[in-house]
């Protein structure tokens, strides 16, 4: 950390404020998990929830939608689909209640349509604040439906992934969502339609092993954890010390499993360009 601090020089007024200013009354403070700076909410908000050190904070699905889509263009679909504890799994109801309170959402994914750079697209956005984006029956159903909807209406799909993996409280039914969503991705793809995935922190387990890795174009946010087996599990199994960048966006880019890493501040612009390439639009330049 001392090296990071040494390298750090304030680059603009905003940064100075982020480091030195007293937090305005009532503002929540956040500590950056990377550089341990304390940042207030309004500063983070102005910086797309990216720290001065480059760390991309996890953000909720609604916030992401407002950041990445044209203002007022989002129309939510399939919001009435909710999980119903199909296996009567011990403690699951309580966990769901807590997740709903914490996230203000009733599932780990939000689906709908919106304009991105003036191009209509179907989208799904997972939330890290709902059971760490774990995939249950309702999650899989909503994602499947948005692909079916997009196939029917000839829309591209942009999907932001965040997930700890399949939701064990739904047993085999959650595992089956991997196959079900993959089938829906295939059908959408066979219609010649574009699917872009944006891998965000963390994308792991059954989501990595299904629709996260099935995009025509795979984009990743910097420093996101992306992998199949959890880092701790790999460590315990192999008893080897892992490279520092193991299972990061940079690691998977290097190994050929992502197309491009994009800073959040440039993300909407990149997505707009990618969509334009596939929408018959000409380069505006």
């Amino acid at each position: 950390m001392s090296i990071l601090k040494f390298l750090y020089k304030p680059q603009n007024e905003l940064e100075k404020e982020g480091r030195n200013a007293e937090p305005p009354a009532g503002e929540t403070e956040y500590t950056c998990p990377n550089c341990h700076r304390t940042l207030v909410e309004s500063v983070l908000e102005a910086q797309n929830w990216v720290c001065i050190c480059g760390h991309h904070f996890r953000i909720g699905a609604r916030k992401r939608i407002s950041m990445m889509t044209d203002e007022g263009s989002f129309e939510e679909l399939f919001s009435t689909i909710v999980t119903d504890d199909p296996l009567a799994f011990p403690g699951y109801q309580k966990k769901l209640t807590k997740a709903r309170e914490q996230s203000g959402e009733n599932e780990s994914v939000i689906t709908g349509t919106a304009m991105i750079g003036g191009i209509k697209t179907a989208l799904f956005v997972m939330s890290p604040f709902f059971m760490m984006g774990s995939m249950g029956s309702a999650t899989g159903e909503k994602i499947t439906r948005i692909f079916e909807y997009a196939a029917e209406h000839s829309l591209p799909v942009v999907g932001w992934t965040v997930s700890g993996g399949a939701r064990m409280q739904e047993g085999l039914l959650s595992l089956m969502q991997m196959a079900k969503t993959s089938g829906a991705v295939l059908r959408h793809s066979q219609k010649g339609l574009l699917y872009i995935t944006v891998l965000t922190d963390p994308t792991t387990g059954g989501v990595t092993a299904s629709f996260a890795m099935e995009g025509d174009i795979i984009v990743a946010e910097p420093g996101a954890t992306v992998g199949f087996a959890g880092r701790r599990v790999v460590e315990q199994t192999t008893m080897e010390s892992l490279p520092r960048d193991f299972q990061t966006s940079e690691f998977i880019l290097e190994h050929g499993f992502a197309d491009i890493i994009v800073q959040r501040s440039n993300e909407k612009k990149l997505l707009s360009s990618l969509l334009a390439f596939h929408g018959g639009n000409h380069d505006s330049l």
Partner: protein
């Protein structure tokens, strides 16, 4: 038998492995190796064989029979290359209009640095998507453990059959117990909650058939299973909308509420 008794039985090293089924049910097996990309993963075996005189592609996750072989086969935990080899053989089967018979027996996909570097998640994802569209019949038979995504990567099939003591689970009972109860020793309790037995999978519609283990590993056992698989392939080959039905088979999985607004 409790669910955890089934787990222990499914894991037993005395159970027949994929190569025993291949030898018992098929004739003239020729093993084909390699993923054509990096290496040959011996945790998965596959190749050509005749099933009652009919050419088929057969693929199986192989745990091995003794310690040396088990190590060579990574105890039946495939790396990305194993899944890619399986997919290569499935595409080959599609090209030559051969049905595919798959034997599933794994505690899960291999967990390691190399497997992650070479895209374990991507390899499984590709199999799920490609199997969903494969234009030839596929039958997956769970003969022991069915560990999560590593098993599903060979089971996006028209039929899933399970031996009565085979298990199929989203997470190992030990893994589940250590998350849920902070104690892997609570695995028997977790095993009950996970609903991972063949009977559970059948009740959920995830397996179409539970195969009796009477005479497991005997010539009669293999002969009966051979007849059943051949009969089912005959039915699948006559099914016109095979791929649509396969999609609908998986499309139906999941239970949720849909509130009326």
């Amino acid at each position: 038998m409790t669910a955890y008794d089934r787990v222990r039985t499914a894991r037993s090293t005395s159970r027949p492995t994929a190569q025993d089924y291949i030898a018992g049910m098929f004739s003239s097996f020729i093993e084909l190796h390699g993923d054509r990309r990096y290496r040959d993963d011996e945790a998965i075996i596959g190749g050509l064989a005749y099933l009652k005189g009919k050419p088929v592609t057969v693929i199986g996750i192989e745990k091995g029979h003794n310690t040396i072989e088990r190590m060579r086969r990574s105890f039946g935990a495939p790396e990305p290359e194993g899944y890619r080899k399986a997919l290569r053989l499935m595409k080959q089967a599609e090209k030559f209009h051969r049905p595919v018979v798959l034997f599933v027996d794994t505690s899960g996909a291999f967990c390691g640095i190399g497997a992650e570097e070479r895209g374990q998640g991507q390899a499984i994802a590709e199999n799920l998507m490609e199997m969903m569209g494969l234009r030839t019949p596929e039958i997956s038979i769970f003969i022991g453990e069915g560990g999560s995504g590593g098993a599903l990567a060979l089971a996006v099939s028209d039929r899933v059959w399970m031996l009565e003591n085979a298990v199929y689970s989203v997470i190992s009972p030990e893994g589940c117990a250590s998350i849920l109860y902070k104690d892997a020793a609570e695995a028997p309790k977790a095993a009950e909650s996970l609903r991972l037995t063949a009977a559970d999978a059948y009740a959920l519609g995830i397996a179409e058939r539970v195969i009796s283990e009477d005479g497991l590993g005997t010539p009669d056992f293999y002969s009966k299973l051979r007849d059943e698989v051949a009969e089912e392939i005959g039915i699948l080959e006559k099914t016109e909308d095979l791929i649509e039905r396969r999609y609908q088979r998986f499309r139906a999985f999941g239970r949720y509420d849909e509130e009326i607004k």
